[in-house]
Symmetry: C2
Subunit: 207 residues, 2 copies
DNA sequence: GTTAAGTTTAACCAACTGGTCAAAGATAGA
DNA sequence: TCTATCTTTGACCAGTTGGTTAAACTTAAC
């Protein structure tokens, strides 16, 4: 027989989708199970039927969202190419990820502070290993080739690149208030900044 | 007659202090008025006697904390001295502020996303004006003197410096998990990074 | 069509939450 | 000492919250 449900998706996915939006917008403490149910168009008891508790539902959401962000973040560093190219490509791609999922940085940073354990054994350490074996290794190589300054530390550079890319989006309300611009002007500014960022880093590390 | 209270401070301050700790640790939604009262060693009704509502108490906390962080952040940029000196002093001083108030960045970023209005008319725009008239002006001057590269945009540089300084502290749980170190190793790393940061920026902007 | 398993619902609950209030206690001036 | 004001408290309250449950509904196999 045909599916007579009001909802084309299966409820498990509908719940996860609605929960993602609510949790990301309001955080774990600010989110309400009833609100998630309303957004999914389902009875609240169903959330518990499929995901037992608010905590378990939250973890399902967080894991999915976190993995998504991580993929968009480290994948570029796992490919073997000249460091300057990696940097340019990263900033270009990562800015788009951040614009698409603009609330994710603050959400993840905040929930991670609330409970640092949610991330435990979420990193398959192979991920870092791969970054080490490609990006970090490449840096050392280009240092020997005289392309990159000797004093550059791969891990620090990695953190610097991340900082420059992510922070402005996390601090968007602060920046817009501080320099007195609206949201669209902010994204214009980020768009213009995109090209300059790679230059900023490369200029700093080149020999 | 002598003060027979168990608490040497006046209750208004005791509440604000306890509220600061709880709000910063758990956020507005996660904080409980009873928990704040317990931490202050006072009756819960007193919180409402002095601060009417949870929202008003939160605003009092946020304002104070925010002003404190802002002072430690922009004061260096308001002084007229060579740009490279400003940058070196800023990183050195700001890292100490961040270590002392290590939970503030995420707290402020998060609450600002929850309700961007809490920061409205909190910036006396004179603050930004002063930064413009000193730091930004100085950059333009040093560009003409051939000390700094022509393509450097003052506002972008300002945001970059902030990003490099603040982000690692906001992302501490992420970084420690990702590279598999504990908290003390993280702060050692930040300590070592401190000197390199100024070099990283200066190297990038010098002509 | 009977049955057994999976799915969905409305009604319900105990615990908790921000907030109130009347009364008790402290304080300082007259 | 009396009194008017300010402080402090315990008890209380209405609304909300995550979570439960028994019963109704669907589905598909026989």
């Amino acid at each position: 027989m045909v599916n007579l449900n009001k909802h084309p998706e299966n409820p498990e996915e509908a719940i996860l989708k609605a929960a993602s939006e609510i949790f990301i917008e309001k955080g774990f403490d600010g989110a309400r199970m009833q609100e998630i149910a309303d957004k999914a168009g389902l009875n609240k008891a169903l959330l518990h039927y499929y995901y037992r508790s608010k905590d378990k539902l939250f973890r399902a959401v967080f894991n999915k969202v976190f993995q998504r962000l991580m993929d968009g973040l480290v994948s570029v560093f796992e490919e073997n190419m000249p460091v300057f190219d990696t940097i340019r490509i990263f900033f270009k791609e990562h800015q788009e990820v951040l614009i698409t999922y603009r609330h994710l940085p603050v959400f993840i940073l905040n929930e991670l502070q609330r409970d640092p354990n949610i991330v435990v054994d979420m990193f398959n350490t192979s991920r870092l290993k791969k970054v080490r074996n490609t990006f970090f290794h490449r840096i050392e190589k280009e240092k020997q080739e005289g392309i990159i300054r000797q004093s550059i530390q791969p891990m620090e550079l990695f953190i610097n690149i991340l900082s420059l890319s992510v922070f402005p989006y996390a601090a968007k309300p602060l920046i817009t208030s501080f320099i007195g611009i609206d949201e669209s002007a902010f994204f214009d500014m980020m768009e213009a900044r995109k090209d300059g960022l790679a230059d900023f880093v490369i200029q700093s590390i080149k020999a």
